[in-house]
């Protein structure tokens, strides 16, 4: 170990165990919902999850992408899911999360947060989804079809969000876009009442919408704290923290957790507590990582490299406001909490359509611009781009983003892989190339 390299103090996150418990309870609550007389639904992490909250406090749900990622993390189970999906005739080029999810249904097995697998896939009572990408649109149609083969009829509602992101983030969102979504959500509430036989409670909706806005703004504040040198959080750890927003962004538990996490992260910044003791090179990544191989981040740390996050980690859940100078700040909440259904729907639609991660579905240069802003503002030295074969949505235009970043003079390291299919990631090869990249940046391994 070179004596010239500064060593920062480190310490474990105090709220780590709370994060683990929240995730554990989340999957168990969904599994056991019917035993408690509750309702359960399924849909994507992008869906307007605050809307079904108006059905009552005993409504439990499972979001598909984090579930697909959990399966991917446990490679043995993931492998069984791939086999089952391919045997059922689905090609391996489809979204890997989706294939993992379908595989679990086909196997009739359900994986919990700790990797334990229980028999009997808990079918949802209804599906509440949106069309953020082609896979998201078809994903639950197939779920519905697979469940029907088991003799279960699962009603499905899907919100068309194709009006998309504001193409000029400096201007207010076009009203017709909001109206298009609000109309669908209003219809969706009628549909929810019909399929569940429950009376819809607008107060619960307003509460859930406000919680979602708070938790997504809080997550952005937490990410903004990672601009500090040394960074108080590393991305591998952040994956276990941001996931709460992908699972339950509208729940009060999520708000409470992020409030505590924000305070703890602020305290770490104040005391100079680092995520990586020998931080000397800061990178950001892009899109989902290969979930079965997260130890690659630990390998990077041996070179004194900290991954600060990514547009994905910051922007999938975090809500941001873009300043005219290109900088980002956590989006402040509106002055008052919504009190009616109409107010709640409008405010959550306008809030959601500004989500940064929506941008590159529509214009790759917006994503490049955002990545450049993150590099500047978070003081990153390079960008690691995952050419993720497992996600058509978030991988679209990555090669163009690479060129845009290079043109801006930013060092880029692309690598191929798959977020959810371990057969498509070469850990040894990727590490070898990463080593070459770090060496070309003048970095040597500091610890074995």
């Amino acid at each position: 170990m070179s004596k010239q390299i500064k060593e920062y103090p480190t310490e474990p996150l105090k709220c780590w165990n709370e994060a683990k418990t929240l995730r554990k309870n989340y999957y168990e609550d969904y599994l056991n919902a019917h035993n408690r007389g509750g309702v359960r639904w399924a849909g994507g992490a992008w869906t307007f999850s605050a809307i079904p909250a108006g059905l009552g406090n005993d409504v439990y749900f499972i979001t598909g992408e984090p579930h697909g990622a959990t399966i991917a993390f446990y490679k043995d189970f993931a492998s069984k899911c791939h086999d089952a999906t391919e045997a059922a005739g689905f090609p391996r080029t489809l979204c890997a999360y989706m294939r993992n999810y379908w595989g679990a249904i086909l196997l009739d097995k359900f994986i919990l947060a700790d990797g334990s697998v229980v028999d009997g896939y808990p079918a949802p009572d209804f599906i509440w989804q949106d069309h953020i990408c082609c896979s998201h649109g078809k994903w639950y149609q197939v779920v519905k079809w697979l469940e029907k083969k088991k003799g279960r009829e699962v009603p499905m509602y899907c919100v068309d969000v194709s009006v998309g992101y504001s193409l000029d983030p400096s201007k207010p969102l076009e009203e017709y876009k909001s109206n298009y979504l609000i109309q669908q959500l209003n219809d969706g509430i009628d549909w929810l009442e019909k399929v569940t036989g429950r009376k819809y409670d607008d107060k619960l909706l307003c509460e859930a919408v406000w919680n979602e806005m708070k938790s997504t703004s809080l997550w952005a504040e937490i990410c903004a704290l990672n601009q500090a040198v040394p960074a108080p959080l590393d991305e591998k750890t952040m994956y276990s923290l941001y996931v709460m927003g992908t699972l339950m962004k509208h729940r009060p538990e999520c708000v409470a957790f992020y409030e505590r996490l924000k305070e703890e992260t602020k305290d770490r910044v104040k005391r100079g507590i680092a995520a990586v003791p020998y931080e000397r090179f800061r990178v950001i990544t892009d899109t989902q990582p290969p979930w079965g191989f997260l130890n690659i981040f630990r390998e990077m740390e041996k070179y004194g490299v900290v991954s600060l996050g990514s547009l994905y980690t910051f922007g999938l859940i975090g809500m941001w406001e873009y300043k005219p100078d290109g900088t980002w700040i956590a989006k402040p909440l509106p002055p008052k909490k919504p009190k009616t259904r109409e107010e709640a729907l409008r405010v959550i639609v306008e809030w959601t359509l500004n989500k940064p991660e929506w941008a590159h579905f529509y214009r790759p240069e917006l994503k490049t611009r955002m990545m450049k802003s993150i590099v500047d503002q978070w003081k990153a030295n390079a960008v690691l781009l995952h050419y993720n074969r497992g996600c058509e949505g978030l991988s679209v235009h990555i090669a163009e983003n690479r060129l845009g970043l290079l043109e801006a003079g930013i060092q880029v390291f692309p690598f191929e892989g798959n977020m959810g299919d371990e057969r498509e990631f070469d850990m040894a090869g990727t590490l070898g190339r990463l080593t070459a990249f770090f060496e070309s940046m003048g970095l040597k391994k500091l610890v074995e």
Binding site: L406, F415, E416, G432, T435, A436, F437, E439, S440, K444
Partner: protein, 262 residues
Amino acid sequence: MITAGVDVGAKFVKIVLLDDGKVIGRAKALVGFDVGKSAGDLFESALKNAGLQRSDVKKVVATGMGRESVHNKPPVNAEEVVSEVVADAAGTFHLVPTAKTVIDVGAEEGRGVKVGEGGKVKDFVINERCAAGAGTFVEAMARALEVRVEDMGLLSLKSTQTIPMNAQCCVFAESEVVTLIHSKVSKEDVSKAIHDAIASRIGSMVLRVGVEKDVVLIGGLALNPGFLPPLKKELNADIIVPEYPEYVSALGAAIIAAKGGV
């Protein structure tokens, strides 16, 4: 000052002994199952041929995919390891100071390296999980054609027609070669199709980092005369092939050792 570069590649170990910038010894041998032993045996033999002891060598730097097998392990006891990309750039810059783009095609990997000032790496690209852009591809196709791998290049130069090969994967390419054989396409034309396919694969990969003159080709495939013409065409550029192209990475490692390490 004597230094050594040891390139433990996928198929061959290559060693270069350097004395004040001058090459005083080269050695090459197949890598056996015991990678460390193959490299160690060759290293000892190279030292013996040069009339040297290990203690005469001030520093050894290892590179190549098997570099860790000789890192601080006797008899090589390489004090440092360096990635192939950095070694490629250093070795090429030493031989061709005007080089801006290095293409290294070895048994297992194809690489494109943009070289900056002083032989530093500006950018690079490496083929991912596919042998279709590496020397192994030629070997597999030679087996399918039942010709010696050494003859593949010359055979391709005798081709009279261009046959497109669509497969981008070694396994599917072999099926395609078999189909071409069954279609009575000559071995010369199939051989050219194979070299065109590799050149296309490597060319499109290198274009990702950009091609800037001078372009230098190194690695084992640079010894194959059938590879250079289609690669030149693919990149629309003249390509320099230095003497002993398969040793350039080892030379780079020896130069890095002479400079005191990474």
